[in-house]
Symmetry: C2
Subunit: 565 residues, 2 copies
């Protein structure tokens, strides 16, 4: 993580720490959790996929405990959910609890831009860090291929006589690349000669924003995934009827392209504990959780599974609990809410550049943001604990004040030092999580699926964001009427909202009240199985900064990488 690195200038980079790790052969790591060596499809010595047959053989195993790691509304650097997930998993293993972690796959595009890797940080990392952040086992590339096969076949149908009567101005499915490339956001394709196809406006998403990714992450298995592909909406006809992938006749080809990508990937932490990394959908226009297949495999294999969901609890946890757990019939046992003193100060009104300075008062004011996320988790009927992800700039006074705030408000908490110490830094957290998991809980999603789209959105806005209500633009209202008519209204809602704030305005810190949420647009993700409600412009194709990380990357003659964060 970039900010962490900048603060701890004397410390090693994540890459240096990762490269110092003497990894164990992946079959040895897998054996710890009882996975036999012949159930692995190797990708080099330190990465493997669990085989098709093996997944089938464990599918009736009883499930272990499921722990979700979520966070407050983050600063731009993130609060360290992945780092905490890895460190907590390592700590549980140190306590002798058979534990696996389920994480999202990093997107390659942002790696060349600004963002750090997505494999944790410091001494709570997953390795081989370079491989996971680069091509890994090719899942992202398979998704890119499947996505663009849909587009190529769609435009081919239009070009070859348009038997499906597709209106080129009503194509909803975009192309994708796993690259930060702003010039591909809005493009015109099919220019020039007639042989180059029919000209129309199009655009590229980054691969993680593809519905192929969202569908992968909610599928039970390859056959379910194939069905989901068939249901994906790609366009409307000239007379406004929906056109699905099934109408293109290529769900079989897409499933073929995805036949290996559907299998979860096993790697190891720096402490040689097994981690499944599989799937990584956007946390705004998609649900931001790793695959159901990976989470279930962990639950079937381990006594404890630690997983995370994108952004803060208002987005990640809500979707994990309202969409993923509901659709996959998962029973979560406890929630860890990660906060940093830095971010709490930001929520208390401090500017990014001043977060290094001690400010107990601002931090305590910012705790209101944390309080709202705790309230949300309580509404879902789940036990929770606050994990403070320690930074080098945290002062003893700040830490003491935060501990006192938690105590006074009866919030279980633990100081987590996983970045600096690995699993050893989360022993206290792990012990407390074990105790939480032994509690009975009343987990239930916040809304019923048979409510109207408006009611479902309002429930989330009021209960999770603390809004007074929701305004639907005229466009959104027209869409809702249409979706009702088409029978798409019984799906869960996937909110696309800024992660920086509880409101739909990214500049509003803390715990805002007396505000309303505006839903501007709705998008059906029928293959994934949810309706996306957009509260603002969501960028589904990032750009590169003026000095992209790519400029600092290199590989030497021994194949050793530098400059990958």
């Amino acid at each position: 993580m970039i900010l962490e690195r900048r603060i701890c200038k004397m410390a090693k980079t994540d890459l240096e720490i990762a490269q110092e790790c003497v990894m164990e052969p992946i079959e040895k790591v897998a054996a710890k959790i009882g996975i036999p060596a012949d159930s692995l499809e190797h990708y080099g010595k330190y990465k493997a996929k669990l085989s098709f047959d093996y997944l089938k053989s464990i599918e009736n195993n009883p499930h272990g405990k499921l722990v979700l790691v979520t966070a407050i509304n983050p600063t731009k650097a993130g609060e360290g959910k992945s780092t905490t997930t890895v460190g907590l998993g390592d700590a549980l293993n140190r306590l002798g609890k058979k534990t696996m972690m389920a994480l999202r796959e990093p997107s390659l595009g942002p790696v060349f831009g600004l963002k750090g890797g997505a494999t944790g940080g410091g001494y709570a990392q997953v390795v081989p860090m370079e491989d996971i952040n680069l091509h890994f086992t090719g899942d992202m590339h398979a998704i890119t291929t499947a996505n663009n096969l849909v587009s190529a076949c769609l435009d081919n149908v239009i070009h070859q006589g348009n038997e499906l009567n597709i209106d080129p101005e009503k194509v909803t499915f975009k192309r994708c690349l796993d690259m930060n490339d702003r010039t591909l956001r809005n493009i015109t394709i099919g220019c020039g000669a007639k042989a180059n196809g029919v000209e129309r406006k199009d655009g590229f998403n980054i691969t993680v924003a593809s519905e192929i990714m969202a569908a992968l992450c909610l599928a039970d298995d390859l056959m379910d995934l194939k069905k989901r592909f068939g249901k994906m909406l790609v366009a409307y006809t000239y007379d406004d009827k929906p056109v699905y992938v099934h109408d293109l006749g290529i769900e079989g080809a897409l499933a073929m392209v995805m036949k290996d990508a559907v299998l979860p990937n096993i790697v190891q932490t720096l402490e040689h504990n097994p981690v499944l990394i599989h799937g990584g959908p956007f946390a705004n226009i998609a649900h931001g959780c790793n695959s159901v297949i990976a989470t279930k495999a962990c639950l079937e294999l381990a006594d404890y599974t630690v997983t995370e969901a994108g952004f803060g609890a208002d987005l990640g946890a809500e979707k994990f609990l309202d969409i993923k757990c509901r659709l996959a019939n998962l029973k979560p046992n406890a929630v860890v809410i990660v906060a940093t003193i830095r971010a709490l100060k930001q929520h208390g009104g401090i500017a990014l550049e001043d977060l290094k300075e001690e400010n107990v008062e601002a931090m305590l004011a910012g705790c209101e943001n944390l309080a709202k996320h705790i309230d949300t988790v309580q509404q879902f009927g789940l036990p929770y604990i606050v994990a403070i992800n320690e930074f080098a700039t945290d002062t003893p006074a700040e830490v003491a004040a935060l501990e006192k705030w938690c105590e006074e408000n009866n919030h279980p908490m633990s100081l987590s030092q996983v970045w600096a110490k690995g699993g050893e830094g989360a022993i206290d957290l792990a012990n407390k999580v074990v105790a939480l998991c032994d509690q009975e809980n009343n987990y239930a999603p916040l809304y019923d699926l048979d409510k109207s789209i408006e009611e479902k959105v309002e429930t989330i806005a009021k209960k999770v964001y603390g809004a007074d209500g929701v305004d639907f633009t005229e466009e959104a209202q027209v869409q809702i009427a249409k979706f009702n008519e088409l029978g798409w209204d019984k799906l869960p809602i996937c909110m696309a909202k800024t992660q920086m704030s509880l409101s739909d305005d990214g500049k509003v810190m803390g715990r805002p009240t007396g505000f309303r949420i505006t839903v501007r647009e709705l998008r059906p993700s029928l293959g994934a199985g949810f309706i996306v409600a957009l509260t603002g412009k969501v960028l589904t194709m990032p750009g590169l900064p003026k000095h992209p990380s790519a400029l600092d990357m290199d590989v030497d003659e021994d194949g050793k990488i530098v400059g990958l964060f």
Copy 2:
């Protein structure tokens, strides 16, 4: 191969034959040629990459014999070069000769379109066929990523103040996807708001047409590849100065992206002999040969290496011998020229739909095409043999007449039945190839590098195509003057010409005389290290047919694929 399948309706498909093969673990296949198990980076049980360290450890081994398989000008179905290469390699192994094969990696895009797989056919195939034709070990995806990173960084420089003074109308480097997608040939990018980058015309190539691919295939190792990346031309400035990847500062990042893709892939034939499949550049705007790294590894490991080069001898063999062998300092020992009676009849004037009918006269007239390719190989100073790739429709009278023609003209020949019989079908061919390899030869490229661009093109046109001369369009002449000025004129020439004919008109069959070649455009591939001379419009992004193969593809619940040819 599609035509073969249609003719032999009773026979099994290539996929069925491939799926029946009980493959050996790849470490067992590798051990046959002396590759130790710990030198392999596994990709599943049946695919692996040779490790970086292992390649270094063998680089001073003496080289074995090098056999090139080329062909006459093919029909649309191809003449069976890959099939012959695999069958001949299996046959040499049956004779007790330690033999490896070096093949090109198939492109994924055409798999969804019309083209069959590129892993041989019938009982002369490389397996796992499905994996090789799909994502394989991810090399194509790495190339796509590297290529599009160049484009993203280039457009980012233009967007972020354009410090390099790049003229957006003079960008020469295109984006790419491994997909047949005609609507991406000509596009306008950066549309809409200013935040979406600078609007300009662009286009996508299919990945195998990327210069990244050509550079990979001519590189000695990763460090050489990095250097080549730096040299790639991407654009010109407003004052017409060349802009290179080095100016973008990302050759290190590109090398990082390609660090695994640079390692050759080992797989097996149906007869469990080792094959390296690595790299597969277009055979028109690039040189159409597998990687130098793979070919050298084969030569270092085996007594015999059988390899092939794209299209007929006028393109594939010429480039193999004038570009690849020269740049990599390889010493070829013999050339196999593949012909089919079907294609000879086509060169004798028979239409595609009538090729099933016996026609000895037409076939003998078509032998003139074969005679020219033999003449070309002789000019390179190499011993050769004609291999007739048997088809079910060949009649005894046709075979006898062809044997007689070879005998009368003193051309060594062999009837190859590898499609039906595997290695057993090429025992005679293998014995004759061994004898040819024992001959001394006078291999030399056809032209000196220090000749002018015009002289080099004319040499190829006259000696290889049988043309009377070459006309350079005004555009081409301007480019040549510019290239001379920039010092790019000492590179070898990579001709982009139709593969269907010896002339630059794809409809002219047989052995045309009294014709001239027109060079319309020149393109510098400075990273690959050649100048491309285009004799007509070369399509670098194919389209899908009305009924793409994707419609017939599927995968069942056990992960078994159908409909992949």
